[in-house]
């Protein structure tokens, strides 16, 4: 069995081409070739150098910021002297804003838990994988669900006086109405764009808008006793 081979196998050291792949189709289907010759580049140096460059630019920006702006440092911690307002770090101020309207279990525990679970399960539900415009299929049924959901959510926020969250909600609802009555073949690019957006896109955009509005309000527009203040008039 150990006869000397009369050939050597090897790989040239400078092969520029990608390897070829052989595919066996076992079921009775025809293989559809979408991309047959994709241009590929070496991770080193092409990808790594770009990443390094991006990180270097970021570092330069942060170094400059750090040279000109100082991190805050207040007086020694004093358990007997509660500042008013006592604010959480900025990324939790959206939740702290909710704390103003709902009991702590709801605002501080239930809402964040629901958010995390909702984010985790996004890729596991087919509605979120679907890429077709929300109102293009089953139009009648989907419109009804949309009306019910929009009115229900708005009334809920209205009932608890959460106007900060109600306004962005109404804004998104208004844009969705435009989408609902736009055709993907509309001559206006914006209406075409809106008409093509799937349901997951709308929910996520609503969430993003609420996140930004609530965080900005909590950071800049809330003062003593969580009352409204204007940041430029302190």
């Amino acid at each position: 069995m150990t006869e000397p081979k009369d050939f050597t196998a090897g790989v040239g050291s400078d092969i520029k081409k990608s390897q070829k792949r052989v595919l066996f189709v076992t079921r009775r289907t025809s293989a559809q070739v979408r991309v047959f010759d994709e241009e590929r580049v070496q991770t080193y140096p092409e990808a790594l150098f770009r990443a390094a460059l991006a990180i270097e630019l970021l570092t330069i920006a942060l170094v400059l910021i750090s040279l000109f702006f100082n991190a805050p440092l207040e007086g020694l911690a004093d358990p007997t002297n509660t500042p008013n307002p006592a604010k959480a770090p900025w990324y939790f101020l959206g939740l702290q804003e909710m704390l103003h309207y709902f009991p702590p279990v709801v605002a501080g525990v239930l809402i964040p838990m629901v958010l995390v679970i909702a984010l985790v399960v996004i890729p596991y539900f087919n509605v979120n994988i679907e890429a077709d415009g929300l109102f293009l299929k089953n139009r009648g049924r989907r419109l009804n669900i949309f009306y019910a959901g929009a009115i229900g959510l708005s009334l809920f926020l209205w009932f608890f006086h959460v106007y900060v969250a109600l306004i962005p909600t109404l804004l998104i609802v208004a844009i969705m109405l435009v989408a609902a009555f736009s055709s993907p073949a509309s001559p206006q690019p914006l209406r075409r764009y809106l008409a093509s957006k799937p349901v997951s896109w709308w929910v996520m955009t609503w969430f993003l808008l609420e996140l930004i509005v609530l965080t900005v309000v909590g950071t800049f527009f809330r003062g003593p006793g969580w009352s409204w203040v204007l940041p430029w008039r302190s």
Binding site: V41, Q42, A54, L58, A71, K87
Partner: protein, 262 residues
């Protein structure tokens, strides 16, 4: 002069010791470049080749890469800060004051750590939304999305535990607000807060616990999950590309074949 240095480096790279450390070496051939990735335990998380479409700015806005960048800055500045900081009451506050006014470049070090930390939280969120709007969370990348959420949680916890360490009014009351919220969880809330703080309110025990979490446990968890995150990109077939995106760049000059010096 420069030529001499180049010669010297080239010689160094051919020594036995160097080659035992960097087996593949760098060098100019495709094989050498592939080995540079494949023979390195860290870079081995990536594939040796990527589709050019994946590197387009529009695919990712480089937001994940930049998040990694802030993390690297934070590890570096964080280790230096640890040299001057004692997690005890009232030393912690005095040490931070010293960093501001006594330690040379201490102010800069603290600034960089703080601003990089805020930036990391911001970038992790931005990365999440970019991945979402790109549609890159869809199968087969769904589990990497979940790992991403875990990374977001770790990022938030890192920032939150670090927030207490200066032991100033800002730190103390921000953490008090947070820990009071966790105490409202039905049944286990009080227990959770006790475990988190090592007491019923924010005190020296809490500072020590947050310090250990911030400087040891959470960074290790972050490194671990970042490694899994990167490895998953490779196993999921690289970054997401759309069929509609052009497969190759507009035609350019034929690349001349580089010959490897032996």
């Amino acid at each position: 002069m420069a030529g001499k240095i180049d010669d010297y480096l080239a010689k160094l790279e051919r020594t036995r010791v160097w080659r035992s450390v960097f087996r593949g070496g760098t060098g100019s051939s495709t094989l050498r470049r592939a080995l540079a990735i494949q023979q390195n335990v860290f870079l081995h998380l990536f594939s040796t080749k990527v589709r050019r479409r994946m590197l387009r700015f529009n695919a990712t806005w480089y937001l994940g890469t930049l998040t990694l960048g802030t993390f690297l800055i934070l590890v570096t500045t964080g280790i230096l800060l640890m040299l001057y900081y004692r997690p005890a009451v009232p030393q912690a506050y005095a040490d931070v004051k010293d960093l501001q006014f006594v330690v040379s470049s201490g102010l800069f070090l603290r600034n960089l750590h703080r601003w990089a930390a805020h930036t990391m939280v911001l970038l992790a969120f931005a990365h999440l939304f970019r991945v979402f709007y790109r549609g890159a969370y869809r199968p087969p990348r769904e589990f990497n999305w979940v790992i991403g959420i875990v990374l977001l949680m770790i990022t938030l916890l890192l920032s939150y535990t670090g927030y207490l360490l200066p032991w100033d009014q800002l730190a103390y009351w921000a953490i008090t607000v947070g820990s009071n919220i966790s105490a409202t969880v039905p049944v286990i809330g009080e227990k959770v807060r006790f475990l988190m703080l090592g007491g019923h309110q924010v005190n020296a025990n809490a500072l020590l616990r947050f310090y250990v979490l911030h400087c040891v446990i959470l960074p290790l968890a972050a490194v671990l999950f970042i490694a899994v995150h990167f490895w998953h990109i490779r196993k999921d077939g690289g970054l997401y590309v759309r069929q509609s995106e052009p497969v190759r760049e507009p035609a350019k000059e034929d690349e001349s074949v580089e010959l490897e010096k032996v």
